[in-house]
């Protein structure tokens, strides 16, 4: 799949600002960004529900709006896009027929989806009687009924409890074992780190970095580590000191990067010299959250 210079405006708002991506076969590609960054618009452009103002999207070499592309793509929307009064089986049958399945192929696909989503024992249950996690799993299964080659999952764990989230991760890992390619959007850094081979960080409709997790961290921080210092004082009084030592004030803590552990002692000495009481110090390997913060100056969940 190849996305080249895609631009989309909604009125005066730029939702996608020249997005270019390339996805490799059988990989899980993460789109990481805060709410409103343009993740869903990009996904909807890929499945043909949003028509870009300019740029090109090719799915397995064909245009995104073509019938061949529709057959190759499976979309799991962020909303619970299922028929609430129909049972799980009836929902899957409907979506299967919309994709042109019938007869034995449809029945096999339904059985596979119910097993994959661990809903076989609830197959005859109307959706409005299922738990939130089960509805989410059915929502995912609905996007896979026609066994697409590429699956697009738009924040599939929104509003899901931790146990159900783990189950969803296992489902996605099972898909990968079956050889499907997955595009996974999230604003949860841990999900991207666990599931994705490569990640694109998107903000304000632009891809600001892409690569594997290690590549993103290396490009942003090199071999530096992150030091988080908690001070007794917060706010304006300590801000000049933090910025004076190349740090950032985040959530009431001062965050710095250091090349050598020895730099930590110098940092603490400087705090003492300026009369700032240090309550706590910790040393971290930078993660995707740190990368996003480093690149945008904001946290992922802002």
């Amino acid at each position: 799949m190849r996305i080249a210079e895609v631009v989309k405006h909604f009125g005066s708002v730029i939702a996608l600002d020249g997005v270019s991506l390339e996805m490799r076969p059988r990989e899980c590609f993460g789109l990481l960004g805060p709410n409103g960054a343009g993740k869903s618009t990009l996904i909807r452009s890929i499945v043909g529900r949003v028509r870009p103002d300019s740029g090109q999207i090719l799915i397995l070499g064909v245009a995104a709006e073509s019938a061949a592309a529709r057959a190759a793509l499976g979309w799991v929307p962020q909303e619970l896009a299922v028929y609430p009064r129909l049972t799980c089986r009836e929902n899957l049958a409907s979506f299967g027929r919309y994709h042109g399945l019938s007869g034995l192929r449809l029945q096999e696909a339904i059985t596979w989806c119910l097993d994959w989503a661990a809903l076989a024992d609830r197959a005859e249950e109307p959706v409005n009687r299922l738990s939130g996690g089960m509805k989410r799993r059915l929502n995912m299964a609905g996007g896979l009924i026609h066994r697409p080659r590429i699956v697009l999952m738009d924040e599939p764990t929104v509003g899901v409890d931790p146990q159900s989230r783990l189950r969803i991760f296992e489902m996605i890992e099972a898909l990968r074992r079956e050889g499907m390619s997955v595009i996974y959007t999230t604003h949860y850094m841990e999900e991207a780190e666990r599931l994705c081979d490569r990640i694109a960080i998107i903000d304000h409709g632009r891809i600001i970095a892409q690569g594997s997790k290690d590549e993103l961290i290396r490009n942003a921080f090199g071999s530096r580590s992150q030091v988080v210092v908690r001070l007794a004082d917060t706010g304006d009084r300590v801000l000049p000191w933090i910025e004076g030592h190349g740090g950032r004030s985040v959530d009431g803590t001062a965050q710095f990067t250091v090349e050598q552990p020895g730099e930590i002692a110098a940092l603490l000495q400087a705090a003492a010299n300026e009369g700032h009481e240090v309550l706590d110090v910790s040393l971290h390997r930078p993660n995707l959250e740190s990368v996003f913060l480093h690149l945008t100056g904001r946290e992922l969940r802002e």
Binding site: F10, R51, A71, W75, F95, H99, G142
Partner: protein, 428 residues
């Protein structure tokens, strides 16, 4: 506290256009419609079409016809309208009956040969041949009105005829104006006055014979004579269509639910296109509406003895075309709205107005002419006309073509507009 509650409610009402329309526009629209129909606006009161057949060609019959022609509430036709500029022959008893049967006029009068020899019926006597009043009893007003006007015209437009026949009566009974004969003459005249007072200005009694009036009239139900329950088929169609419109717009609202939940997006990301989706919805809503009609008419058959089984072909044709038209109407309303609430308000407003002027609430023949014509813009009017032709007039299926054509074309146009409006869901 109370002003704060009122203020909050007012702000909410002001921002809810649907509720505003239901609160103010709908009552005003209904008030206007009812006021125009029943409010006594005489300049727009509907005129009754009266076909007249003069088999007598006497001075009395001509006087009577002229008197009827001068009545402002009647439109008297002694012959059909010219065809391609060619004058048509006068109605005969048979052709007038056929015209009433076909619904071209609600009533026809046949003045039989010999009427002029003794036009006035004294009391229970049947001196002259009685005028035949051929009526379509689905229009309960027209025949009563014509019968009354006939008696009025006899009193006001035929004084010389009455005097002439009166003299003959005098000659017959008195043989000369002796004192005794004068007394008997006075008795006869007072009898006449009593009869006039009894029949009243609008005259005419219901029943087979309007024999209590000045002129003897025999009525004949040309349409509906053998019907078990004459108005049931009308109301089955009239009420049925109105509720079909409501059901259809409700069912079409599923489109809005699917758009809101994201299901519509998912469906449109599959092989399903907007055109096929709308076509599928129209097919479903058509079937739903048709089944509703079947249930309604079966109920009419079971409970009100509606003659359903002998009209199956006409019912199927009218049922399916009506169902198609209301289904597309529902899809159009849903496509024009953004939310379920909006659809609820708009459909209530539009359907109630359509139903009132289209004849679902009261027969269209009661309405002023302008409103009868406006009613032709509604699905209700064409559907009711078609069902009336089938169940009331027993017309063959081929005669339904104007109603079928209008409903099919209307359905196609509504579908095209709905398709255009629903393009907003196709892509963003």
């Amino acid at each position: 506290m109370i002003p704060a509650i009122i203020r909050t409610a007012l702000i909410s009402l002001r921002r809810d256009r649907g509720a505003l329309a239901l609160s103010f526009v709908l009552p005003i629209a209904f008030f206007t419609i009812f006021a125009v129909i029943f409010g006594g606006r005489r300049d727009t009161t509907p005129k009754i079409t009266l076909l007249i057949v003069d088999e007598d060609h006497s001075r009395a019959s001509q006087r009577l016809i002229r008197g009827l022609e001068n009545e402002g509430s009647l439109r008297v036709f002694p012959r059909p309208a010219p065809k391609n500029g060619v004058e048509q022959p006068e109605y005969t008893a048979a052709s007038a009956e056929a015209a009433v049967r076909a619904g071209k006029a609600p009533v026809a009068l046949v003045i039989p040969q010999g009427f002029g020899q003794a036009p006035i019926s004294f009391g229970g006597e049947r001196d002259g041949a009685a005028i035949q009043l051929l009526k379509d009893s689905s229009d309960m007003v027209a025949s009563q009105m014509v019968a009354g006007l006939l008696q009025k015209v006899a009193m006001t437009a035929m004084p010389d005829v009455m005097a002439e026949q009166g003299t003959r009566v005098v000659d017959q009974y008195s043989g000369g104006l002796t004192a005794e004969q004068r007394r008997r003459m006075d008795e006869a005249l007072s009898f006449l006055r009593r009869q006039q007072a009894n029949s009243g200005a609008g005259g005419g009694n219901a029943g087979d014979t309007f024999g209590g009036g000045i002129i003897a009239v025999k009525t004949h139900d040309v349409v509906g004579e053998n019907k078990n329950n004459p108005m049931v088929s009308f109301y089955a169609a009239a009420i049925g269509v109105m509720f079909l419109l409501f059901t259809s717009s409700g069912a079409a609202g599923a489109l809005l639910d699917e758009a809101e939940s994201g299901t519509l997006d998912r469906v449109l990301s599959s092989r399903v296109t907007m055109s096929s989706l709308l076509a599928g919805k129209v097919c479903y809503n058509t079937l739903l509406a048709f089944v509703q009609l079947v249930v309604m008419f079966l109920w009419g058959w079971a409970v009100f003895k509606l003659d359903f089984w002998s009209h199956i072909p006409g019912f199927v044709v009218m049922g399916l075309t009506t169902a198609f038209a209301v289904a597309t109407f529902g899809i159009l309303l849903a496509s024009a709205c953004k939310t379920r609430a909006q659809l609820g308000a708009l459909s209530t407003l539009v359907i109630l107005i359509m139903s009132s002027i289209g004849g679902s609430m009261f027969p269209r023949f009661l309405m002023p002419e302008a409103m009868q014509k406006a009613g032709l813009l509604t699905i209700n009017a064409w559907a009711i006309d078609g069902f009336t032709k089938t169940f009331w007039r027993d017309e063959p299926v081929a005669h339904l073509w104007p109603q079928v054509a209008v409903l099919l074309v209307a359905g196609a146009v509504l579908f095209a507009i709905a398709h255009r409006l629903s393009r907003r869901w196709e892509y963003v």
